[in-house]
Subunit: 416 residues, 2 copies
């Protein structure tokens, strides 16, 4: 258990792709599911499809944590070795389960299992099987002394429902203890740098020294999280809301959400509440603002559509930007941004419209218009069109992501 009363989890993700070519997107998902159970991830390890390496890290994990979760390497192909690695770490046998065979035959309507399904029926001696509604790999839960080892398949569509429907309850049941309550809150802000946020919030950290704080910087967004503990839920809740109030007083409307909120969902909720619609005119973000907005389920209620006007010709012919604007001010200018936003609002007949035009790089920058310079506009029914200019840094991807978040946040602040 750590200072805050969280129990320790070691997360072990297996798969050669995770140590070579692919990013591991699972840590935040597991962390969010474990937090309400009173667990935090102490360490995450990514290991290739290497039997010895898997066995070693599982043994090491059981040494230091209360809960060890493995994810991946249970598939039917030759390089899936997690079952074998876990069994070796525990010094236990793998046992062929006739019951598992029966379930697979029934699920897949087979009279005989194909050879590569046989591996799927191997269960660690003493493990509890967990059914998988979306794949052929069973989950496994093994009690090892006072510790728990959970073996899950890799695809998110398989392990998430297994975790939600079975594993969470098994973890709760196994670790019945209730030695205190932990609460955590994440406040999310946009258009504020990590260092600036820390400076602003230092008085809060000094006033509430018993809490733990972390600041996380993103693409033109940042996240400030604090964790408190208490003997009873009400005690922890009071502490938490005290800190939250102090932070909100300082940060005000820079806060767009808490915990799992996203900026695009915050904007969507606002538009829904005001029964307003929006359209987008994008140049350097190339459709990424539109992509973000439509990642929110139900976004069709307020998002009518948009135009990616990547060429100057399309800014003119599709969005109606004036020839004189292009000649006198250029395609990266607040004037052009304003005409783009107004043009796309006319085209899609929406209440609001947002536009982005800038230099995403890596080439195409000049002294007057350097890479990272981005102009924005927000137009709306009955309001004067507002424009903004920002200088973002780093890679083409960074500049696109920062621009997406700035555009969404500018719209949010104006709708509010």
């Amino acid at each position: 258990m750590d200072a805050m009363g969280f129990k320790k989890t070691e997360l072990i993700c297996t798969g050669s792709e995770l140590v070579s070519s692919k990013s591991n997107r699972y840590v935040p998902l597991f962390a969010a599911k474990l937090r309400p159970l009173g667990f935090r991830i102490y360490r995450e390890h990514s290991v290739g499809d290497d039997l010895k390496a898997i066995a070693k890290i599982v043994a090491c994990g059981l040494n230091s944590a209360d809960l060890v979760i493995t994810c991946g390497g249970l598939g039917p192909t030759f390089d899936d070795l997690t079952r074998q690695g876990v069994a070796r770490a525990l010094g236990r046998k793998l046992i062929y389960s006739k019951y598992a065979e029966q379930i697979l035959k029934c699920d897949y309507n087979l009279s005989k299992l194909p050879p590569n399904f046989k591996n799927q029926c191997l269960i660690i001696d003493g493990a509890k099987m967990v059914e998988n509604a979306n794949g052929t790999a069973f989950g496994q839960i093994v009690a090892v002394g006072g510790k728990l080892l959970v073996v899950l398949p890799g695809p998110q569509s398989e392990w998430v429902p297994m975790f939600d429907n079975f594993i969470a309850d098994n973890i709760k049941e196994f670790f019945k203890s209730k030695e205190g309550v932990i609460r955590m809150l994440r406040l999310k802000v946009a258009d504020l740098r990590e260092v600036a946020a820390e400076k602003l919030l230092r008085p809060v950290m000094r006033r509430f020294p018993e809490a733990q704080y972390t600041i996380l910087a993103g693409a033109n967004i940042a996240e400030f999280s604090f964790t408190v503990s208490g003997k009873r839920p009400s005690e922890a809740a009071v502490k938490l809301s005290g800190i939250e109030k102090a932070c909100r007083k300082i940060l005000g409307c820079a806060i767009y959400g808490t915990d799992e909120d996203t900026l695009e969902a915050a904007v969507g909720a606002l538009l829904k509440k005001k029964r307003a619609t929006v359209a987008l005119a994008e140049s350097c973000t190339g459709g990424a603002v539109s992509d973000a907005l439509t990642n929110v389920p139900g976004s069709s209620a307020y998002f009518s559509g948009g135009v990616t006007a990547y060429s100057i010709g399309s800014k003119r012919s599709v969005l109606g930007v004036k020839k004189s604007t292009i000649i006198k001010e250029g395609a990266v200018s607040t004037r052009c941004a304003a005409e783009m936003a107004e043009g796309v609002r006319r085209l899609f007949k929406t209440d609001y419209a947002v536009s982005v035009t800038g230099i995403a790089g890596p080439d195409g920058g000049t002294k007057e218009l350097p890479v990272g310079l981005v102009c924005f506009a927000v137009a709306g029914r009955g309001i004067k069109t507002r424009t903004f200019t920002r200088n973002f840094r780093h890679t083409r991807g960074d500049i696109k992501r920062c621009s997406v978040n700035f555009a969404l946040d500018a719209l949010r602040k104006i709708i509010q």
Copy 2:
């Protein structure tokens, strides 16, 4: 050293966000930079801002690997503890460097360092300092017996140039040995499932048993990689090209690229070669195809723009889809997809146009039009418009990503 002759690296990424709320995107970047130096990542560990945990995992890494790299936790804020953790693991002191102070004063034009910069001047006893052109944290290189420990700052814009300009040479210099040559090739295919790819390629794996193979599934794309070793570069190259030829014979034009190639860059290169332009009409992908295409630097040469027609009204008014099509066939139909592609091609006056319309879910599905059903069309100057229908699965995000890759791949195959 492993079976293929690669030396082992342990990558340690620090930062509480990496075990709570953020995905670690660095592993593929480091893996790609280490491979040509003859190193592979044996394990990656993410650890929170916890002095003891950092010290423990650094010590453990030095135990099992030839090269240990830490990334992150060198910033000026209270929770940056990697320097201290590494020093503790090595049992060495941190020494205040007047030279580092001088460099920071000069770089930031300061007569006196602010208090939080002082931490930045602490160097591990015996370490080599590496200057950072884009931040305040110095890199550090420490020889520990026959092993090498490299300490890098977390932001990509800082560590990438440091690695390319200094660290790579230092690693080469330190591990001068040349016991053999390793070559790896990744073949990338679209619209082919992992299991199908394995089945197709099993004869190749049987014919060349001395190589190592991995299959990685993505969103409607997959990646087949093989690694060979040889005494001389020519020997390894001959083996590699033998396997490549055998694979290409089987997979043919399903292969869109190798190694670091992306599907969007492959499509871009083809368009550039044919001096052709393209426009996009997106519904359920919400601008994500356009976003992917414009992630490629220089894409403005062939990408004119696109329309995200999220509402039925905008499909009609902006893209010119016929009222009868919407009524008789619906907005998710090959007929509608074809009219969207043809409409956007007229609007942007391009050589080609691609459209996507489907049900991304999680709601809005029916028995006839289930979640995951997506229709595509590719229109082009002088060719008959081609349409496609696919059923994708899982989450809204998965369905969007699969659709993006299918759309790009369909265009690629038609241009080819």
